[in-house]
């Protein structure tokens, strides 16, 4: 199947210019990715990758990137963190429609990861909810990619956790 996802990286202070990084990615066989270099100090790889599974697609892309551009540090894998308009766009409904759906099912709709001046969700639980509770047809490849993107982003953040805190929190929050 074909999987669509984006890897966003921050570049170390001493990095070769963007054109050089693009050439290296081309050499490494990343021509199934669109490379964005519009932000100084950043690089984004928007893949449409053929693979057996989303995990294989994303892991192989991460592996190639790590070797081709070692000066890049992963910030996030998308699609994962989303606002309601992002979800609406991904499943092809209006934002108002999405908002109404959330408000009328307050009890079961997945809780936002953060609510403030903006509200953010992990995409996967929202897609799952739409599929199971609201009878939406969700592309299997999108569902799969959203799941693995969430897993990677969580795993990446988790490396910052202090072990002692982790143990206590597990007991307190479980």
């Amino acid at each position: 199947m074909e999987y669509e996802f984006t890897l966003k990286f921050i570049l170390l202070k001493v990095s070769p210019d963007a054109d050089e990084l693009v050439e290296r990615l081309g050499e490494a066989g990343c021509s199934d990715a669109l490379i964005g270099i519009g932000q100084p100090g950043r690089i984004a790889l928007d893949f449409t990758r053929e693979a057996e599974s989303a995990q294989q697609a994303v892991f192989s892309a991460l592996d190639v990137a790590r070797h081709a551009i070692p000066e890049a540090k992963l910030i996030e894998v998308t699609p994962d963190f989303v606002g309601l308009s992002d979800v609406a766009e991904l499943v092809g409904v209006t934002r108002q429609n999405m908002r109404k759906l959330m408000l009328t099912h307050k009890a079961t709709f997945p809780a936002a990861v953060h609510e403030g001046s903006v509200a953010l969700w992990h995409l996967y639980p929202v897609l799952k909810w739409l599929q199971e509770r609201a009878d939406y047809r969700i592309e299997p490849s999108l569902l799969e990619v959203a799941y693995i993107a969430m897993q990677i982003n969580l795993a990446k953040e988790a490396s910052q956790i202090e072990r002692r805190v982790q143990r206590e929190v597990t007991a307190l929050v479980a």
Binding site: V22, L25, G26, S31, L34, G36, I37, G38, A44, D46
Partner: protein, 95 residues
């Protein structure tokens, strides 16, 4: 316009779509065929990384590459906002 055409028909068409929307094309590179630059350079833009997008000489899948390039052009927030504004204006009289 006098620029080299991209060897892949679908990609060339996507580049022309970008040009029609004001994107500037710069040719150069080896694995890269060139780059396209977003015409809007304003603080409100949140497209970020893809305001400059690299175009491959021999993309793994030319159809996908072309589709992705088009998506970058069509998703530009400044362009979308301009289109929305135009839509809410009264329709101009057509002949």
């Amino acid at each position: 316009m006098a620029r080299t055409r991209h060897p892949k028909k679908e990609v060339e068409e996507a580049i022309q779509h970008a040009e029609a929307n004001g994107w500037r094309i710069q040719i150069g590179g080896s694995h890269a065929w060139g780059k396209m630059y977003c015409p809007y350079n304003d603080a409100e833009c949140r497209c970020g990384e893809f305001c400059i997008t690299s175009i491959w000489s021999t993309p793994k899948n030319p159809g996908n590459h072309a589709r992705q390039l088009r998506r970058v052009v069509d998703n530009c927030t400044t362009r979308k906002r301009a289109a929305e504004a135009a839509k809410s204006e009264p329709e101009p009289e057509s002949e």
